[in-house]
């Protein structure tokens, strides 16, 4: 079964994967918002989502480390990884202390902050093109890019909020 979703928030995405697993659907693959599920025993797996630090170097090392720790790397897309563990093997949480949780949200925040800056750049290029040529197509592009930029801004803001919550609770 395939489902298309766009998530702002990896915690909500994780909750959704959890809900799917409890209904007997295990994530098998993720690509560009398309989630591929295969049947599993209801509640068989616990899922976690992570963002790697580096573009490549890390990937192999990270995957080997996780497999050694009894964690299955289900799908990797770009710097994003989907991990799971059988629920019968006990609780599964990637990050168990405040410091490493904050680090993770910082990685996600910086990732989308970079994307946001790129989008803002594109937005002004489109606006400029629209003003110069006065073709409606450029206005449509500008609006679409603007919407994406707002979505990214929201993610950055959410991460910041979570970091502050964690720091306050420390």
């Amino acid at each position: 079964m395939k489902k298309f979703r766009l998530y702002y928030d990896k915690d909500r995405e994780q909750d959704w994967l959890q809900k799917m697993s409890s209904e007997g659907w295990a994530l098998k693959k993720f690509f560009l918002g398309v989630y591929t599920f295969v049947p599993c025993k209801p509640g068989e797996y616990i899922y976690q989502i992570d963002l790697l630090e580096n573009w490549d170097g890390d990937k192999e090392d990270f995957a080997a480390f996780m497999e050694d720790s009894g964690v299955e790397v289900v799908s990797q897309w770009y710097r994003w990884v989907f991990l799971r563990k059988k629920a019968e093997d006990g609780p599964f949480e990637m990050y168990t202390d405040v410091e490493s949780k904050i680090n993770q949200y910082n990685r996600i925040k910086n990732f989308f902050l970079a994307a946001l800056i790129l989008e803002i750049g594109c937005f002004f290029i489109e606006i400029n093109a629209a003003l110069q040529t006065n073709r409606p197509l450029f206005w449509i592009f500008a609006i679409l890019i603007g919407i994406v930029a707002i979505a990214f801004l929201r993610i950055v803001w959410r991460c910041q909020w979570k970091i502050e919550q964690l720091q306050r609770g420390k």
Binding site: D50, F62, F65, M66, D68, S69, S100
Partner: protein, 105 residues
Amino acid sequence: MDNNLPLTEAIFYILLAVRKPNHGYGIIQEVSEITGGRVVLGPGTLYGAINSLLSKKWIMLYSEDVASRKKKEYLITKEGIEVFLKEVKRLEELVRNAKLMEGLA
């Protein structure tokens, strides 16, 4: 070196678990055992901590079993031991001073 202190609980117990060569899963298990299940390190937390400890040279890569599987073992370094012992001194001071509270409970 002192601004490295205090150590986080995770770092403290990871250093302890690599006093002898130990691999990722072994570290998680040992820490859980000696704390009676109170400190269970998440694999992401452990992965990040190991990389930061390696770059600080408090631990080193002890072996990489190429033959069977890529199971990396880590071992504490001299520097790591030094930091750990400093932290223990700091903790002992805390416990010593905590005795001032005696008799109030």
